[in-house]
Structure formats: structure tokens, C-alpha cells
């Protein structure tokens, strides 16, 4: 279990009917990393794999607490699933700004990471890290839903590590 960070029910963590002592911010981070709501920001074919197939019954991200929301106000993670061109970039930034802190970004697929097969075209942004700070890059064109599961696992590890860092800095 250690290091892999699967979704943990408090009962399994501490035993039934037990009392759990935890720092409040650790509790918050535990809650955050086990309920990563993502923004349905599907702007290209990656959305079919990473948002629709992933949210559907076959892969069912809901069982990991990963669920889609339609509004940036209610989301923790933005999955940029597709090519971002220069007209879309300000929209992307605005949606990111509207998300409540703390927030994370997953650049899904070749297009969001580097511009992908369209990067020679002068209208395409060469990677969304030019617009928003990216936490996890996922390779693939498009990546399989399993890749997105792995990306979420990496993101959970990252949140865990951030908690550790904050505590160690005291």
C-alpha cells in the first residue's frame, strides 16, 4: 500500500470504531487526493479517452473519487485534453483562474504537452505549460484511460509529497 496511494477508507486506515489523530491539513490533503474532481475541459479527441471513456462504466473513475464537474468553481484538477490554439489559450487561462485553490493541471496527450502533430502550424500553442502551470504530463496520442489512471495516481503521490514538504518545513 505504501507509495502506491490507493483510495483509502478511514476505517481501513485506522480500524473499525477507532479514533484517528491527524493534523487538520493532513486530513484535508487526504480528502483532496481521494476526491480529485476534474473539469470536463475536452477540446479534442483526447476527451473521448480521458474524460468520456474514463468517466463511463468501463473504467469508472468515480470509484477512485475522481469525478467530472461542469464548472471550474467545483473542480480541483483540470485535464487539458486536446490541442490548444492561440484563440483557445485565453479561455484556458480564464478557466484555470476560476478554479478554487488548491488546483492541479494534467496535460493529456501529445497536443497538450507539446503541440503534438499540429506543432508546425503557426496557430498552435507549443504545450499548455506556456499558459498554465502543469503538474503531470501524459504521453500518447491519445493516451489510454489507464494512462490517465496512472496520471491521477502520480498526482496523488505529488499531493502527498507536498504535505510532507510543508510539514518538514516547519
Amino acid at each position: 500500500m505504501a507509495g502506491r496511494c490507493p483510495p483509502v477508507a478511514l476505517d481501513r486506515l485506522a480500524g473499525e470504531h477507532s479514533v484517528l489523530f491527524i493534523r487538520s491539513e493532513q486530513l484535508f490533503d487526504l480528502a483532496r487526493r481521494n476526491s480529485l474532481f476534474y473539469l470536463s475541459y475536452g477540446i479534442a479527441c483526447c476527451a473521448i479517452e480521458g474524460l468520456m471513456s474514463a468517466g463511463g462504466p468501463r473504467f469508472d473513475y468515480d470509484r477512485f473519487g475522481i469525478f467530472h464537474r461542469g464548472s471550474p468553481r467545483q473542480t480541483d484538477v483540470m485535464i487539458v485534453a486536446g490541442t490548444v490554439n492561440k484563440k483557445m489559450a485565453p479561455v484556458l487561462r480564464r478557466l484555470y483562474d476560476q478554479m478554487a485553490e488548491p488546483k492541479w493541471v494534467i496535460a493529456m496527450g501529445a497536443c497538450a504537452s507539446t503541440g503534438g502533430p499540429f506543432r508546425e502550424y503557426p496557430n498552435v500553442v507549443l504545450g499548455v505549460d506556456q499558459v498554465v502551470p502543469v503538474d503531470v504530463w501524459v504521453p500518447g496520442c491519445p493516451p489510454r484511460p489507464e494512462s490517465m489512471q496512472y496520471a491521477f495516481m502520480q498526482l496523488q503521490l505529488k499531493i502527498k509529497a507536498q504535505t510532507r514538504e510543508r510539514l518538514d518545513a516547519r
Binding site: N85, K87, T114, E120, Y121, P122, N123, L126
Partner: protein
């Protein structure tokens, strides 16, 4: 349907054209100023559906293709016209309102104009973008897109 029948329809409406049967289908070529009259003649002949309106950069000029279809007779017709790079073709939206978006797209990506269009704004790109689909517009070079 042979292109000569298209030419007959257009000549009855008083539009001079040059018919040819190509791999694409029945094509007539005409001058840009008469395109609205020609399409109005085709519309009243039963070609009720504008399938597509697109532009091509031939290297010398911009070729506009109007693809219309009669859904009743299952016939397709292609009207082609050539305009210069900074030239213009009249907007045909009063005949086929479906041309509104296609004309905006062609105008911004090829840099020519459709006078008479009620809303000649950009559709896909931001202000200041060059007409991207012209052959003279360079794409990014290999060194520019290589990941460091």
C-alpha cells in the same frame, strides 16, 4: 448529370460559363461577379442544399468552389471561380444562408473578401493572424518545434 446541362440552366439565366466533366463531377467555371446569379438559377432549378463552400490556393490565385446538391434528384453540381489574392467574391448568403460560416472561414484563412456579408468577423483565429492556408505563409520550421 453532365456539365452541359448545368451550362444550359445558367445560360437561361444569362450567365456565361465554361462547363467541364471532371473526376469531381459536373463543374462549371464562371467569373466571380456572376456567382450570385448563377447560384440563384441553380436554387430555382432544385439545387436546394449548399453542401460546401471552400477555397483553394492554386499557387497563382484563390479558387472558390461552391458545391450544391439537389436532394430530390440526388444530383451534385460544382461552381468554380477564381479570385486574386486580395480580390473579392460577392457573398451568396441571400441565396444560401448556409454560406455565412463558410465565407467567414474562407475569408480569414485565405485573406480575400466577401463583400455583402452581414457579419464579416473572424471565426477560428485571433485578430492579426495571417491567412494561414495560403501557400506563401510559412509553417514552423523543424528547429523551431524540436523539443530541447
Amino acid at each position: 448529370m453532365p456539365a452541359s446541362r448545368l451550362a444550359d440552366i445558367l445560360s437561361k439565366a444569362g450567365v456565361a460559363c465554361e462547363p467541364s466533366d471532371e473526376a469531381l463531377g459536373a463543374v462549371v467555371r464562371l467569373e466571380a461577379a456572376r456567382i450570385t446569379d448563377a447560384l440563384a438559377a441553380l436554387l430555382s432549378d432544385g439545387f436546394g442544399f449548399l453542401v460546401d463552400l471552400f477555397a483553394t490556393d492554386t499557387g497563382e490565385a484563390i479558387e472558390l468552389t461552391y458545391h450544391v446538391r439537389s436532394l430530390k434528384r440526388l444530383e451534385d453540381a460544382y461552381l468554380k471561380t477564381t479570385v486574386t489574392y486580395d480580390g473579392e467574391a460577392p457573398s451568396v448568403w441571400r441565396v444560401y444562408p448556409a454560406a455565412l460560416y463558410a465565407e467567414r472561414e474562407a475569408a480569414e484563412l485565405f485573406g480575400m473578401a466577401f463583400p455583402g456579408h452581414p457579419n464579416p468577423k473572424r471565426l477560428l483565429t485571433v485578430e492579426g493572424t495571417e491567412p494561414l492556408l495560403r501557400k506563401s505563409i510559412a509553417i514552423r520550421e523543424a528547429g523551431e518545434v524540436r523539443l530541447s
